[in-house]
Structure formats: C-alpha cells, structure tokens
C-alpha cells in the first residue's frame, strides 16, 4: 500500500505540473495569434467591410486593449471556469467545448479499443512462434500499418465501405443518446483510420518485449514445471512485457488525440479537433485558448494515468518511488 500511495503521490505531482504547462502553452498560443496578420474583427465584419464597422466590432470584442491585459483577464476568468464567449458562435466556450468533447472522446475511445485489440492481438500472435510464418506476417502487416498515413486510409475506407458499398456513413456523427448502434456505425471507420498506425507500434513493441522475456529465469522455471508456451505467454510474460507497452500507449493516446484534427476533418465529425482547426483559422481567441487548455488537461491526465498503471504493473517502480 505504501508503494501504491507513492505512485499516487507521483501522479499527483505530475498533475500539479499542469498549472505551469497550461500557463506557458496558453500564453504562447495567445501571443502567436496576436502576432498573426488580421484579427477576429476583420473576419466578423465580412467582405468589403466599412472600417467603422470593423472598429466597432474590435471595440466590442475589446481587441483594441493591450494584449497582456486581455490575457491576464482571460486567465482570471479561466480559473473560475469561465473560458469566455466565442467571437463567432456567440456561445460560451465551455458550452462549445462540452458539445465537442464527447464526440472526440467517443472517437478516441473507439480508436483506443481498436488500437489495443489490434496491437495486443498482433503482438501476441507474432511472439507465439518467433521467426515463424505468423511472426513474418505480423511484421509485414505492422510495417504496412506504420507506412499508411491515417488520412489516406480514411479516404480509402470511405471510398470502399461508404461510397462503393454503403455499409457505413461517409460523413457526420450521431450522438450515443440516439442509439449505440448508429453511434458506433459513425465512429468505426474514423476509429479504424486513427487506430491502425499506433496499433502497429504497440504490436511491434509488445512482440519485442515478449521475446525479450523469453530467456528470463522465471519463465525457465515455469517451463521446467511443465507449463506450455501459450500459458507462459499469457499468464507470466504478458504482464511484465506490458510495462513499456502501457507507457507507449499513453504517448500514443496523446498522438491519437492530435490525429483527430485530420480524421474529424475527413469524416466531417464535429469534434474538438475540427473546432481547434477552424477557430485557429478564424482567430477566435477564447475558443482557441479553451481548446488548448482542455487538450493540455486531457493529455496531462492521461500521462498521470499511465504513471499509475505502470506503478501497479511494475513493483520495482512502486518501491523506487516510495523511497
């Protein structure tokens, strides 16, 4: 239990690091938007605007005030949970984000499940008979998966499974509340497109980790007791081999979230990734900062979860951190 508490303490410290990270990231992002040509008032005034209209909008949005003052004010409100109001949608940023987060998390969850099943499945299959036909097939498939860009795979999946054989929708999203079946039908192709590349990384990492356990004393002892290869693999080797894989899994989930920007665009899914991309173009600063803050929080939380999982999987880590 002492080790468990130490892991939680370690994870807590990691979570504390969120504060400076959010501060630095939001400040840099605000500064970059400030330095970009034009501002939201220009875009909001439409084409051929009257300069007086642009100025009026600029005053209304308080874009005529000093940058630092606006940033500090945003920060002060953000601490209280008020992320401001979108310049374009005229909607509270928290509301916009809350609309989009379930979409992206849903997509992420589907992709995660595919990634884990595919990655662990291929990794274990490859490790069952090292050098055998199955191992070679797994290596080949993994190499192919690594080489295929997610957006290209997404386009191919749309063409084959939505346009030519209309089994899945080509675009859009249906909330879970409208039915789990439709929800899954809308997320399966984008989830697959997102998951394939990281699944290959996990498969190769797991296979390598499993094979490195091959000569371990505990496996030799178990084998001497008469345990067969599949049992050795699943009951003994897999837990130890999973430690580096779980670490990688954490990183891959962060990358996977980044990948939603492209995949949500291809499938026209109204998620957080697409919101981030569009608001960056519009220079809708409150939304940009809101999305950045939420993304940083999600990724830091995932990292903390990975630390906790590693702590429980690896006793050495628990002992190490308790000292």
């Amino acid at each position: 239990m002492v080790g468990g508490r130490a892991v939680l303490r370690f994870a807590g410290l990691r979570l504390l690091a969120v504060i400076p990270t959010v501060l630095i990231v939001t400040f840099v992002v605000s500064l970059l938007v400030e330095l970009a040509p034009g501002d939201a008032a220009d875009a909001l005034a439409g084409s051929n605007p009257d300069p007086a209209l642009v100025e009026s909008i600029r005053r209304e949005l308080r874009l005529d005030e000093p940058f630092l003052l606006r940033y500090v004010e945003w920060l002060g409100h953000a601490v209280t949970g008020d992320l401001g109001t979108s310049y374009f949608a005229k909607t509270p940023v928290t509301e916009l984000i809350l609309q989009r987060v379930p979409v992206t998390l849903g997509l992420g969850a589907v992709a995660l499940v595919i990634m884990v099943v595919l990655g662990f499945g291929l990794g274990v299959l490859g490790a069952m008979r090292p050098g055998g036909l199955l191992d070679r097939v797994v290596s080949g498939v993994s190499a192919l998966f690594l080489a295929v860009p997610a957006f290209w795979l997404a386009l191919v999946l749309v063409l084959l499974l939505a346009v030519q054989s209309p089994l899945f929708p080509a675009i859009g999203y249906t909330p879970f509340s409208d039915g789990a079946g439709e929800w899954l039908r809308h997320l399966l192709l984008p989830g697959l497109a997102l998951a394939v590349n990281p699944a290959a990384t996990i498969a190769l990492q797991l296979k390598s980790a499993l094979l490195s356990e091959e000569g371990s004393d505990y496996l030799l002892a178990a084998r001497a007791k008469g345990l067969r290869h599949p049992s050795l693999l699943f009951k003994h080797a897999l837990k130890n081999a999973a430690v580096p894989v779980v670490t990688i899994l954490g990183f891959r989930v962060a990358v996977l979230l980044g990948g939603t920007v492209i995949i949500e665009t291809v499938f026209a899914i109204p998620g957080l990734g697409l919101l981030a991309q569009q608001t960056a173009v519009n220079q809708d600063v409150p939304v940009i900062l809101g999305v950045v803050t939420i993304t940083v929080l999600i990724i830091m939380l995932l990292n903390a979860l990975v630390d906790i999982a590693n702590g429980f999987l690896n006793p050495k880590l628990r002992i190490g951190t308790s000292r």
Partner: protein, 545 residues
Amino acid sequence: MGIHKGRIAALVLAASVVVAGCGGPASTGQGAGASGSATAGALPDAGTAPLPADFDPDATVTITYSGVPGGLDPDRVTGPGEWAYLYPVYDRLTLIDDNYDVRPMLAEKWAFAPDGKSLDLTIRQGATFQDGTPIDAAAVRTSLERARTLPTSTWRNSLKTVTAIDAPDARTVRLTLSGGGANLLALFSQPAGMVINPKAIADPNADLTRTTGPSAASGPYQATSITSGGTGKVTYTQRSDHPQYWDKAAGLIKNLTINNIPTSAQRINAARAGDSDISQITGVEVQQANGLVKGGQQPGILYPQTLTVQSLQFRSTRAPLNNPKIREAIAMAIDKKGIADSLYSGTCTVTNQPYASAHWAHSDAAEAAAPAYDLEKAKQLVAESGVPNPTFQLYFSPLYGPQTQVVQAQLAKIGITVQLTPTPTQVGGPSFDKGDFDAQWFPQTNSPDPSQMINDWYLGVTTLIPPADQARYTGIAEQAADVTKSKEQRAEILAPFWEQLAKDNYTVPICVASQVWLQSGKIDVDGMLYSWSGLNDFRYLYKRK
C-alpha cells in the same frame, strides 16, 4: 419543373399582362425597382400558388452545403455563405427571380417618388410572425431601422442612402433617400430585408444570433437548433401555424437540416453514400460531380453561377501593379480559355466583365474591349513598362491552388514573377481588404444589382478602382443608381463603365463558375431559389412521396 419555376413563370406572366395594360405609370417609374413597382401590385397572391400534388408532408430532408453557419441574426451575418441558414427562418421584403428582376415577397408592391427622394413599400396583408403577431409596416420599420443603425450591423454601409424610415400607415413603409438607391430593392431580397419580430428586437435578453423557436421568426420554418462553425448545422421544423402561413408553397418539409460539410469531395461522398438528400458541389470538383450525373451514377443538376466570377483582383495603387502596362500585360498573358477547359472541364464560362451574358447588365462592347490573349504583345508591354523584373504577391485560398499555379506559370512566360501566398479565406480576405498582398484570386460574388456591386467592389468601401482614377467612373455610377431609370436604361448607362474596367484591368475576370447539386431521387432540386447564385434559398424545396 419545380414549384418555384412555375410560380415565377406565373409572376412574370402576370407582370407582363399588367405592363401591357397599364403602360407603366410615370409616377412609379419603370426602373429596376420601379419596373417591379409598376407591375408588382397586380402579382398573384403567393398564397394561391399551387401546392405540388406529390409532396411528402412528413419528409425529413438533409442538405449538405458549403456555407458555414455563423449565427441566425440577419444583421450580423459575416458573409453570403451564412444566408442560406437564415432564409428558412425569415421572410424578406423582396426576392430575385431567375431573370435577376426584383419580385414581391413581404413587400407586395413599391414605388419610388418621382424625384427619387423616397421609396414606399406596401406590406402584404395577412402575413404574421410565428408567434401570431401581424407583420405590418411598424414591424418592418423596426427591422429595417435595426439593420440601418445597429453599430455592428453588416448592412449599415449598403443602407447609407436611407436617411429615415417611417410607417405612415399600417401597410406603408416610407424610406427617405439621400440620392441613388437603385440597389435597395435587390438588397431587400438579402438578409438586410429580413423581417424580425419587433418583440424579439425589443427584448434586452434576446440574442438573435442564437435564438431558435418561433419568437423572432417570420419565415416558413423555425430553427430548432444551431451549431456554428465548420461542420456546424442548423435544424428546422415547419412553423406550427403552417396551414395559416401566407405562402402555401413554402415550407413543405417537416424536418429540415442544413449541414455544413467543408469540402466538395466530402459532399460528393455524402451524396453517394446516401447521407444527404441534396449536396452542393463547387470548385474544381464540379467536373467530377458533373461526370457522375452525366454517367447516370448520381442524379443531379449543373447550374451556371452567373454572379460568381473567378477573378484576379489587383491593388492598383502599388508597384508594379500601379503600372497600367503591367496590368494590361497580365490580362493578355492569362489564357482564360485554357484555365476554363483544363481545370473546370468547360464548366466555367470565360468572361471579361462582372456580369455574364445572362444578366441584364451584361455588355457585348465590354466583352470586345478586353485585351485578347497575346503573349508576344504582353512581353512587349512588360518591356515598355520600364519595370525591371516585375514581381507581385498573390494571395489565394488553398481551394484555388491549381488556378493560381497556372497563372504563375503563364505570367512567368512574359517575365512577371508571381509569389503565391496561400492563406485561409477567413484571414486572407480581410487581410487583402486591409491592404496586405498585391493581388488576390477571388471568386467575386456580385450582387444581382450592379449599383450594389459597384459599391461593394469598385467605388465603395473596397475600392479596386484607385482614387486617382475614380473620376472617370463615379459619374456613370451615380447615373446608374438613379431609381427613375429602367433596367434597360441602366444597362445602357453601365456599358461604358464595364468597357472602361476592361481597359483599365484593375481586375481580370477569368470565368463564370458552375456548381452541381447532387440529389436523391425524391427531391425536387429545381425548386431552389437562387440556384444561379449558389446562395440558395430552400423555402420551396420539397420531397416527393
């Protein structure tokens, strides 16, 4: 033929009968607005337009569309792409027919004063807001006043000729004009002429941008939800008092969704996968969609976008584009037909002026006045210009990458260097307006009324004509904005304007684009209003049983 086409044909027929009978009273004039004025009074009541016999009253229809929804406030729209989301919710004072003529909507008729100093609009009887409040002159006055005076209103500049708005009686709205104003009736077919419930305007807590439901709406549908931004959508349901609605042929879909899908490629996929009932296809994907239609793989219709001209716009006050010989050389070196044939497979019609031949303001003389494609002469002009190594920066939306690369290659042949600067439209457009970049490739969407268009692009806030050269244009523009002139007279007045533009080359019009609407078998796409503009109004769209 869709309900709209049939209805408009009936309106035009009725109008011509009245014109023949009355000869056009002098007091109401015969101008672009006034010709409507002369004839509009006898137009058949829109409520008597026949309902299609085969429409499905329980239909649910999803439209995938290129425009991005912003908000639902007519006076705070940021671009024409948002208009289609507002049309179902708000009725306007006028509409534009397929001949680019102004027709009645909530304004049943209109008349300019003989001296052109005022415009009287007569408001239709029997129209109500969705909460049952009658739409009368006072309500229209409040709406127009808001469009004219709200500090953040998009329409303030366009309504600057209106100095006062009064409602002398329950059906008459009188606009006092400071001069010109020929653009106003066409403008009132756009969100500037949308009529908002005065109760919603007076409510300090109402945010019309996000307002859904019946409280502010005057149109055939009420919005039930709105998600702004890319891949955003607006959902609608038929107004609850639809049987009493004045325009029986409008609002025939029970549940309507207009969904922004950012790229044409996605919209093609959506149509082919059956995810949408109708899909708008624009840009270079038009040739692919047209191929699907021609090959019988997907039903659809190709519409020329008469008012959208793919153009090069120059900042003619800045070197080297302030040199007339350089601009003329550019106009001569661009192979418009080559671009139209290779990139658009012939679905973009080459033009040398803002209005295509289908529009009443088109001028054959201007077409002939533009420089013809001639590389040798273009090289000679560059040499004569005295500008060493002419170079300019061309901004374009990434959607127009292929077009601008072709321009770059063609101008390189005459020794002009083009630095391509791809920038998202939302940033690049305003940035060009503010003075960044030397030139832009732009799909110039022109108002149906040329006076409005001239104000929008050439002599208004955006002055593609440099101040030093404006003197030779302003006189013509003022004459053309005279409300007492007929559209034929205005076309005659405007011809030298287009001719001079073609010689001065502040812009190089390339071609008039087309778009394709892919559809499912049961939708009557031909029933869309404004199919020639791409800024469609779906009020008369319906689904067959």
